[in-house]
Amino acid sequence: MEATNAELYRLALTDAPYVIAAYGILWISFVAYVTMTLRRVMRLEKAVVVLEESLERREA
């Protein structure tokens, strides 16, 4: 392999862990944050329905 092409591979392999880590952390963090928020929203929606139904029953 030519010296410069060997350097090309070396440069790519040296930088790769940082690039992979940056994109990986970014996506995993977003997905985790959004998933946790969505799950909380769904749980709250169910609680709202139950509470407002019991409020309507009591008022009726």
Binding site: L8, V19, F30, T37, L51, E52, L55
Partner: protein
């Protein structure tokens, strides 16, 4: 809920756009260069060699870690905009004293902090790959770090005040103070000498510009979606509190 539906739609479109930008960044955007390397004689190589007279030939050193740019900058710019949104709501709260503006300001601050932390993580990784160090006290990094500390201090301040009215007023004033850092941090690399790259100053090839714009639009959509999602959660919480109060009363 209308806001929740908008949040989910924006989240899906934003996710699609940022994923598209990710593939474009790696498959269509040309590799940027970071300095040059000189060799004594002509070589059969993938690099484009340029003759430099008696010194032999030179080629641009490929800058693979620059690929982080396509997400690092959109996340950073989204953090600035959401922080400014928080300050706008804070000012509106101070003018009207309506509690809903305080809630909006707090949620925008929280959303912005998520983006700021992600900008810091991607930035530190890019700094390590490009400059060989994890951190450097240069103007952009320092001002952005101060901005992050002020945003964390905003939540510490809020949690330390029990009285709701005082908490909201102090929080709003501090949100405005924290947001002043956004234009300072954004402009500082254009005013002071800095190692940090300045976007658009040296021009950008269209193959690089397109994934950046797609990622930027997508990230702004994700930013607003996260804010709207948290606002929906907050409103549901308020409805639960109101229903509980009515049931107990």
């Amino acid at each position: 809920m209308k806001q929740l539906r908008i949040a989910i739609i924006l989240l899906l479109i934003g996710g699609l756009l940022t994923t598209t930008a990710f593939f474009m960044a790696f498959f269509t955007a040309e590799v940027q260069q970071f300095g040059t390397v000189t060799v004594a004689s002509e070589l059969d190589t993938a690099f484009q060699l340029v003759s430099v007279g008696d010194n032999g030939f030179s080629y641009g050193r490929p800058w693979f870690s620059q690929k982080i740019f396509y997400f690092h900058v959109p996340v950073a710019e989204a953090s600035f905009l959401v922080l400014l949104l928080s300050a706008v709501f804070a000012v509106r709260f101070l003018m009207t004293r309506k509690r809903s503006f305080d809630t909006k300001s707090r949620i925008a601050m929280e959303t912005s902090l998520v983006f700021v932390i992600l900008t810091m993580i991607t930035g530190v990784l890019w700094t390590r790959a490009s400059w060989g160090v994890w951190w450097e006290w240069e103007p952009r990094l320092t001002t952005y770090f101060i901005m992050m500390l002020m945003m964390i201090a905003y939540f510490v301040l809020r949690n330390s005040i029990e009285d709701e009215e005082r908490r909201a007023v102090y929080g709003a004033a501090f949100a405005v103070l924290a947001a002043i850092n956004a234009p300072i941090s954004f402009m500082i690399t254009r005013v002071l000498e800095s190692n940090h790259p300045v976007v658009f100053q040296s021009g950008m090839a269209s193959s690089n510009l397109l994934p950046f714009i797609v990622a930027q639009v997508g990230m702004l959509m994700v930013g607003y979606a996260v804010y709207a999602l948290r606002m929906s959660e907050e409103r549901l919480g308020e409805r639960i509190d109101a229903a509980k109060e009515a049931l107990e009363g």
